[in-house]
Symmetry: C2
Subunit: 395 residues, 2 copies
């Protein structure tokens, strides 16, 4: 069944937006919802909004909706903070769970902030933990009986290469390691079944494929059987069992609630709730099939038209997420020229031109048209025109 529903988004005319893997477009409902939240809830209810408009329970309520998109049960996901902060929370908890181990494993395809946050935690702890990175293809063989935690992003932000979550998690657990998945490029892009892979932790953001807007809240999943035993490193008052009792001592809230920290960003939450409405009735298996179909057309068209570009993503669609990357030494400038023509992808150092496929608002016509623009840009070396040398941006 088609998942195409472009009419639900505000997209500029004459733009082909292949960057929904970095920042999703504006859902029309989000504008209305935020305006209404500001006018009727903040404006009229004022402080009463925390209860009367349900702001206080929103991080868990919305968490349950995100849970459905990643195969997690009710009550196992909560929204808030940024993905970076959620990495810290999850890894701190994972380290607690394996007090006799100090090895943390990740790979060179992980997004830098995950590694930076892990480094920061390790230095803050100062207990001899070691974060080592391997090639993504070697992860399974590098996990051993000394590994405390494995920290991976399912889909590589540069290449789109996708890990086998079930298999790697199984190997981690066979070795007694805690498994933690970053789903930034998975949630809303591909089917995820976090519960059946049995990983302890997952984290992700909602501003990419979930279209919740720049700086939208992150999510964290904790496997329900362990969420009740975690002592949160970030022991914020809204993770307290009774925040409004203002007790002297921190008592963690029930299960996933303890992963809340401070006051939730209610305006961003309103945009997120509206953005999630877009997913009503959407089957992620359909999204996956349609994404792959678009990617295959794109690869075929681009390779036929621009032999100078080298596919930097896996050739097998089963090994890719929902993006296709090509490498070229002039990739940065070529992407600027492409953006100037209305085909928006992005660039990742050192030489990756990255294109995201989001079948909710991209169809085959867009993909073929984009390939033709790429052909023109490369045929005419349009990046030599300084006008196109503007800057682009973010993850």
């Amino acid at each position: 069944m088609t998942v195409f529903r472009k009419h639900l988004f505000d997209l500029p005319k004459d733009v082909i937006y292949l960057d929904g893997n970095s920042l999703g477009p504006l859902p029309r409902a989000a504008k209305k919802r935020v305006a209404k939240m500001m006018q009727d809830e903040w404006g009229q209810l004022l402080i009463r909004g925390w209860n009367d408009a349900g702001w206080m329970s929103q991080p868990s309520r919305v968490g349950n909706r995100v849970a459905k998109l990643i195969g997690a049960p009710d009550g196992s996901v909560v929204m808030g903070d940024t993905l970076s902060v959620k990495v810290y929370q999850a890894l701190a908890a994972a380290i607690q769970m394996r007090p006799d181990r100090t090895k943390i494993l990740s790979d060179t395809g992980n997004f830098p902030t995950d590694l930076y946050m892990a480094d920061g935690l390790i230095e803050t702890l100062d207990k001899g933990h070691d974060l080592s990175l391997c090639d993504p293809a070697d992860v399974a063989s590098r996990i051993d009986g000394e590994t405390a935690a494995v920290l991976l992003t399912e889909v590589d932000y540069r290449t789109g290469r996708k890990h086998d979550m079930a298999q790697i998690t199984k190997i981690a657990h066979q070795n007694g390691a805690v498994m933690m998945w970053d789903l930034a490029h998975s949630a809303g892009a591909i089917p995820v079944d976090i519960a059946s892979c049995s990983a302890e932790f997952a984290i992700g953001c909602t501003y990419k494929y979930l279209n919740a807007g720049p700086g939208a809240p992150a999510f964290i999943y904790v496997r329900p059987d362990i969420s009740q035993t975690i002592e949160p490193a970030l022991a914020g008052w809204l993770g307290h069992s009774a925040p409004f009792a203002f007790e002297r001592s921190y008592r963690p809230g029930t299960g996933i609630e303890r992963m809340r920290v401070g006051t939730p960003p209610v305006i961003q939450m309103a945009a997120l709730e509206a953005a999630l409405d877009v997913w009503d009735g959407v089957n992620l298996q359909d999204v996956r099939l349609q994404s792959i179909a678009l990617q295959e057309v794109f690869i075929k068209e681009v390779e036929a038209r621009v032999p100078a570009l080298t596919l930097a993503s896996p050739r097998d669609p089963a090994e890719r997420g929902s993006q296709v990357s090509f490498s070229h030494e002039e990739g940065y400038s070529a992407m600027q020229a492409l953006i100037a023509r209305g085909v928006i992808g992005d660039f990742r150092a050192p030489n990756i031109m990255r294109f995201g496929f989001t079948p909710l608002f991209i169809d085959e016509n867009d993909v073929v048209a984009a390939a033709k623009h790429i052909e023109t840009v490369f045929a005419e070396h349009l990046w030599d025109n300084p006008e196109f040398r503007k800057r682009s941006a973010v993850t």
Copy 2:
């Protein structure tokens, strides 16, 4: 000069809002600004908004505006996350600065999340740090040569009691301790001169007196001479010196930039920027004078009308922030009855009725009218009516 500018806010008719110390009201400009940001920036620029609309530099740009309101120089304040997370960052840095000391001092008037976050950090570090609390009046005498850091909120969230920042900071420094102020109930409420008091760290929120909306971003100030030496515990990619180089290793950004963590909440930032416009041309000394005048009228009127209420704030206005609290054993129910009549304050356990004074939109007529409502509520024991027994909320 009067700072009254109620026309800049959307306030419900028939409400006297004495809870701007918990959640400020909606600035009219914030609605427009957020709608415009969503429509023109997110909707039309999409990913290009990070550069073309200045989203990426917004946390520092807005930080400079908040800096002016707390007496901090340009480049010393950055926005993001929640106050809880900023407490963690600041305290982790303070502990680094005093590796040979383990005593951390706070007081019983501090807001619980500050203490919880400190507890969480201490337990995560597991290096024998000790957080001890004393009575607010005893802080100065409890700081000694073993104190690593002093962590205080300037204005007590329950009683409005105000610390002498300059004096306590001086004593902390004389004893070699690092000083950290929570300005949640100070920023936009009273004049703050963080630079001349010379404290190392300050943090605060923007949803109270700064009216930036529920869950608005927090701020952190680091004294410029030390900001360049901090190794951030929360080493997020946007605090990296070159986030888009995607380097393997974390290299902290210049000065205060390193206190950024993850992707900033751009929609909330838009509301915040508009809310700060309300402060253009406002002198905080005028705010202070007018707040005290309102508080004095309120105390006089309430005490004359309702002898059953006990003033829980300092009698001397110089020792109060911008709120007045009364205690009463039926305080919770009485506040509900008052809210039902359109006079919105809030309740803090165990028995505190709390009223915030915000001369930007509250005048003497409001204050006298509020006192009359309180008189009626207590004269008629209106809280015995179950209809009034709704719930109120948040800090």
